[in-house]
């Protein structure tokens, strides 16, 4: 299991478009992916739960990945948050 913190780069926060783009990435991995912000937890493959984190621009999100392809999944998630427009 690996954990890392990422920062939301999107001007308008983690709204429907970036959440959707993110899920297109997480869905490709077998590992369980979880996002946490403050008290909220989201399944990394659920658009709805990711949006419900209510994460705004600059907020930190704790990412936990657990499974056979965890390193690759974490790298992909990191890349997503590192690239400002959310395009890999």
């Amino acid at each position: 299991m690996i954990r890392q913190t990422v920062v939301v780069p999107f001007e308008d926060g983690m709204h429907i478009r970036p959440a959707n783009d993110l899920v297109q990435i997480t869905a490709k991995f077998r590992s369980d992916i979880q996002f946490e912000r403050e008290e909220e937890t989201a399944d990394g493959k659920s658009v709805m739960e990711i949006m419900l984190l209510g994460a705004e621009h600059g907020n930190e999100i704790l990412v936990t990945v657990d499974g056979e392809d965890e390193q690759a999944a974490m790298d992909a998630v990191r890349n997503f948050f590192d690239s400002k427009d959310g395009q890999p």
């Binding site: 926060g13 983690m14 429907i16 959707n20 739960e49 400002k84």
Partner: protein
């Protein structure tokens, strides 16, 4: 009881322009969901899955139509809806409700979605809060499918006379579908500038007002209604006099819009042929598109602070490079002036602790901070230099007060350039390096600085504040914040003259650059470039094309001899009236 008199309502202008047309009320189809106790859980799962699959197919068709109408970027809203439908948590949670409560699928869908909508509506951020509309849209689709209520065909082909759609709220699908055919405008009771209705209306150029409370009670189907999306005003059942006023406003708006739109690709030449470059100020690479669409001839000020703010650690070179490159590529071959970090004192960063200061505006900030903290400055310089290989880049240092600062900063640029070239990284060999002129000392030695800086850009906001020793945030002394004070004008003139003698160019990137009252004066003082918000570009070009440079030279010389700001303003007004006469 239907009201009959004229009624003026204030809302929020969401998309500019004026429309006058009959009301077409779009009722919120309230779907009545009843709880039924079910025995056969499996068969409810089956109904749920079938409804999800059918909605998915419908939405794919909507997405493809929307892509054709709005372009792929706006159509992404519907990709989001497709994802919501496919969401593993949706299926799981609704199924749990069906099983636990032995409830019918409709009831479970409504319960689940309503709890989510409530969470969205509680969010602090307006943009996030309005995403409740997306969830509501998907919920409506699923419920209609489960209840066998036909979905309105998409897109709706309305016929007949144009009408203005009035509703409590519109979902993205509503807005998109209604705009095909004869929708002349939108007015809704709720929503803000960032609601999807607003975004889509703007991208389709349909006048819209949102957030008009009491609208549905006031407007009856068929009533005439005026929507002024520029002012955010709705007038229900206007009087003949009001109609006449708005008809002429509309004609004027359209005429101005068309006249300005015709100028997008035109150069900004005065009547006697002096070329002024009209550029845009941007704060993120995303703004470059709007600048291009607005007809900007370049970016005169790219503020880089956005990269550093709202985050917990310093942006690295790679992230900065991506941002600069994106803006530079979008604008290429037009120039992009990238201003290095202008931060300190009043704008502090969580990862960059700074001592509190008595006078942050006179303190440890901008180039002063950057020269002292190479670990902050060098990655930014490298990122800018690397981006220069992708277009037309200029570097600009903020808050330069002395020649030494300029030399030190240029030295760092040279060092990083040499290093990058040694590493085999491409760097343009044509990167002008200039400075902001915003401190009186800089203007006073502009003749010397012009020998070593490639260009000047006058930041009028700070220059005024420092020249008159007037904190612009302090209301008690706001009368002293005088853009047209002869002292400010003389400093601008000194800077412009110094630049001209060395064959360098000089721009203005403060608020004065986009001010129609100031532009003739700035042009007369010898300014070559004006950089302003994208929305002012075409108006400024229109004005410049009506000016005569030779006359303005004289006007400016006269202004410099006046005693007070009031006298300068009188002179400008008089000359403006003569020009228009």
């Amino acid at each position: 009881m239907a009201r009959t008199s004229s009624l003026r309502l204030q809302g929020i202008g969401a998309s500019g322009g004026i429309s006058i047309a009959p009301v077409s009320v779009r009722n919120k189809d309230e779907i009545d969901v009843q709880l039924r106790n079910i025995e056969d859980v499996e068969s409810e799962y089956g109904r749920l899955d079938k409804a999800i699959a059918e909605c998915y197919a419908d939405l794919q068709a909507v997405h493809s139509e929307a892509g054709k109408m709005l372009g792929p970027e706006e159509a992404k809203i519907f990709e989001g809806h497709l994802s919501l439908l496919q969401d593993p948590s949706l299926r799981k949670k609704v199924a749990q409700l069906i099983e636990l409560e032995k409830a019918n699928a409709e009831y479970a869908v409504e319960r689940h979605f309503d709890s989510i909508i409530a969470k969205f509506e509680k969010m602090k951020n307006e943009y996030m809060r309005e995403r409740a509309a997306d969830v509501r849209d998907v919920k409506g689709r699923l419920l209609r499918k489960l209840l066998g209520i036909a979905e309105a065909p998409f897109p709706v082909q309305t016929r007949g006379a144009p009408s203005i759609v009035v509703a409590h709220d519109l979902t993205p699908a509503d807005t998109t579908s209604l705009t095909v055919g004869s929708t002349a405008g939108f007015a809704t009771e709720i929503g803000g500038k960032t609601s999807h209705t607003a975004i889509i209306a703007r991208s389709l150029n349909i006048p819209s007002v949102v957030g008009v409370s009491g609208l549905l009670e006031a407007a009856n189907p068929g009533d005439t209604i005026i929507v002024d999306g520029t002012e955010g005003i709705v007038i229900v059942r206007p009087t003949e006099a009001e109609k006449a006023v708005y008809e002429s406003k509309r004609a004027q708006y359209e005429a101005e819009k068309n006249a300005l739109a015709a100028l997008i690709h035109e150069p900004s030449l005065t009547r006697d042929g002096r070329k002024i470059e009209i550029a845009a100020n941007i704060g993120s690479p995303l703004d470059a598109d709007a600048a291009m669409a607005a007809g900007a001839e370049g970016i005169g000020l790219f503020r880089t602070e956005f990269l550093y703010m709202n985050r917990s650690s310093l942006p690295d070179e790679e992230e900065q490079f991506d941002a600069y490159r994106a803006a530079v590529e979008r604008m290429s071959p037009k120039p992009v002036v990238i201003r290095t970090l202008d931060i300190g004192g009043d704008k502090s960063l969580p990862y960059l602790p700074m001592d509190p200061e008595m006078n942050p505006f006179l303190g440890h900030r901008a180039i002063r901070l950057c020269l002292e903290r190479p670990e902050l400055f060098r990655p930014q310089i490298r990122a800018i230099l690397r981006a220069s290989a992708y277009g037309n880049v200029l570097i600009m240092f903020p808050m330069v007060a002395t020649m030494t600062e300029l030399r030190q900063a240029k030295q760092m640029v040279e060092e990083e350039k040499a290093e990058l070239l040694a590493e085999g990284t491409a760097v343009s060999d044509q990167i002008p390096v200039g400075i902001m002129v915003e401190i009186p000392s800089t203007a006073l030695i502009a003749d010397q600085l012009a020998k070593e800086a490639d260009f000047f850009s006058i930041g009028t906001n700070d220059l005024i504040q420092y020249t008159l020793a007037c904190d612009r945030m302090n209301e008690k002394i706001s009368h002293l914040y005088q853009p047209f004070h002869p002292a400010v004008l003389r400093l601008i003139q000194m800077t412009a003259d110094a630049a001209r003698r060395e064959n360098k160019w000089v721009g203005v990137c403060g608020e004065m650059a986009g001010d129609v009252q100031a532009i003739p004066l700035l042009v007369g003082l010898g300014i070559d470039e004006l950089s302003m918000s994208a929305s002012s570009v075409l108006k400024a070009r229109h004005l410049v094309q009506s000016l005569n440079y030779a006359e303005l030279r004289e006007l400016a010389q006269n202004a410099l001899q006046l005693d007070t700001q009031e006298e300068v303003l009188h002179l400008l007004e008089r000359s403006g009236r003569n020009r228009n006469a």
